[in-house]
């Protein structure tokens, strides 16, 4: 039963989601926060493509996945710019220092 491919895809999706959410909750490092976000997006990508594969409309799922990847890239690039700005301002990447921001 465990070696069933259906189960493996389901389990991989679930484990990626849990890993991403745990990373978002537990980390205090701004760059690792983005890594957690990236892992969550990977889980969603896997599920999108799998759903397209099941329903037989892989082309539509593929175009939606490409849109997801483009949005993911833009979010990560802008967030990395903000992280560099925060690092220049606070001289470290600790999330706790963001509470001290004013203005």
């Amino acid at each position: 039963m465990i070696l069933d491919l259906n189960f493996l895809i389901f389990a991989a999706f679930l484990l990626l989601i849990v890993t991403g959410i745990y990373c978002l909750i537990a980390t205090l490092n701004l760059i690792r926060l983005l890594i957690g976000l990236e892992i969550l997006t990977k889980a969603v990508t896997l599920l999108l493509i799998t759903s397209g594969f099941i329903t037989g409309s892989i082309a539509i799922a593929q175009s939606m996945t490409i849109t997801l990847i483009v949005i993911e890239v833009v979010v990560i690039v802008v967030a990395c710019g903000i992280v560099i700005g925060v690092c220049n301002h606070n001289k470290n990447l600790d999330l706790k220092n963001l509470r001290k921001l004013k203005g």
């Binding site: 493996l8 990626l16 205090l28 799998t50 799922a61 710019g81 560099i84």
Partner: protein
């Protein structure tokens, strides 16, 4: 043979995702994330979405890793004392992740065996025809979902403007 390949790919995907969260070095974490992206790209390729697989491999495994490593190199590294303190704090925060993953896997096995959740991914395919024609996939992207392309261009432009605003140098008096 294909079953074993899919099993190895999915295991590698999860393993490298967990490594990228658990490992202390940020550069190694970014590289582990790139390897996880490469595994995902292979999985997407096996499922028949070739264009998305190529974009996943080139953009997520390539470009995002470059962006992460550039950002890490532009930030200030911790001193040895700070690294020692941070390592202990990190260990106390992330030590629970493997246990939570094992519990999640056990819960998934129980749910799967109890038939409460049972997505029949693979055998559902036998009744449906997946269109693996390359030209049909291209026409779906360029014709049926052409409005998405416009949205993607706008999102990319707004991202570019966002980066320009973030790195704009202020006029010095």
């Amino acid at each position: 043979m294909k079953d074993i390949l899919i099993m190895i790919i999915l295991s590698g995907l999860v393993l490298f995702a967990v490594i990228s969260v658990m490992i202390r070095s940020l550069v190694k974490a970014a590289i582990a994330l790139a390897i996880a992206s490469a595994f995902l790209a292979v999985m997407i390729f096996i499922l028949g979405a070739w264009i998305a697989a190529v974009i996943e491999l080139s953009v997520c495994a390539g470009m995002i890793t470059v962006v992460f490593i550039s950002s890490i190199s532009l930030t200030i590294p911790l001193s040895k004392e700070e690294v020692a303190v941070e390592a202990k704090q990190r260990m106390s925060r992330f030590i629970y992740l493997p246990f939570i993953l094992v519990l999640t896997l056990a819960a998934a096995i129980i749910l799967w065996n109890s038939r409460l959740i049972n997505f029949d991914f693979i055998s559902a395919l036998k009744g449906t025809q997946v269109n693996l024609d390359f030209s049909a996939q291209g026409s779906a992207i360029w014709d049926k979902r052409s409005i998405d392309i416009l949205g993607q261009v706008i999102v990319l432009l707004s991202g570019a403007f966002g980066v320009v605003v973030l790195f704009k140098e202020r006029n010095q008096k």
